[in-house]
Assembly symmetry: C2
Homo-oligomer: 149 residues x 2
């Protein structure tokens, strides 16, 4: 069975709060962890609808927030005004470079970034929870950039 470990983690998380264990929540969890790449809440809702799910839009939106809190998925924000999510299933922590010409998003891992959030938070008297590091850039080689002429 798929995502058995995630299911356990989510169940545990739900029980810790005053949240109920419902089939809808696991349906959303499965779909979110399966999703390739970054997705908006509505994107996921559409995909689920196409697979004949009966889960409502409202439930998708609410469940995604629970999945973020439980760290099974991550919340992202790439400069448009919509929230994107990303499955953490078998992923390591990474950051993003966004091409300002074509919108392409390149993921990268840089070891120098790792300690910064914790270090800076400590200095300022905070307990780090997460970070987001986005680089906005343009293709040097326009041939690689699909919307460059």
């Amino acid at each position: 069975m798929k995502h058995e470990k995630a299911k356990q983690e989510f169940t545990e998380f739900l029980k810790k709060g005053k949240n109920r264990i419902t089939p809808e929540r696991f349906e959303v969890m499965e779909a979110a962890l399966e999703y390739e790449g970054h997705f908006g809440a509505d994107d996921l809702y559409i995909v689920m609808k196409n697979f004949d799910s009966t889960v409502s839009r409202a439930t998708v939106y609410k469940t995604l927030e629970l999945l973020v809190q439980c760290e099974l998925i991550s919340k992202r924000n790439f400069g448009e005004n919509t929230t994107k999510y990303e499955s953490n299933f078998r992923r390591q922590i990474h950051d993003h470079l966004i091409c300002m010409d074509c919108g392409r998003i390149v993921e990268f891992v840089n070891s120098n970034i790792k300690k910064l959030p914790e270090q800076i938070s400590n200095e300022l008297g905070f307990e780090v929870s997460s970070h987001s590091f986005n680089i906005f850039a343009r293709c040097k080689d326009p041939k690689n950039c699909k919307y460059n002429k």
Copy 2:
């Protein structure tokens, strides 16, 4: 007269494109550079309305984008789905820590971050334009956090 230098820069920038020099645009520029702290486009529109400006909402939204391009203000995004702006008037480049309990935003300057965007962009074959580094954290000392019990 205030913001004389900014006025010159903006004028030059406008001329370089096929943009016209209009009084409305300078009204928005003045208001944006004057604004203390981070603001949404609509926040600025309201403030201007309160000062009996007749500039329309549409013009405010459009002009702010021009001011970003001309680097007189910066575009920010702190995890809600709205665009915030920030005057660059007499400011150095900095990043932000957002308190997840009270929403307070702390600005910081860290020298280790400076070279990273350019270095990473080069490695990936991009030309860096800007970056955003946000740390999401919680107050260690709840007394400092206005919404902590």
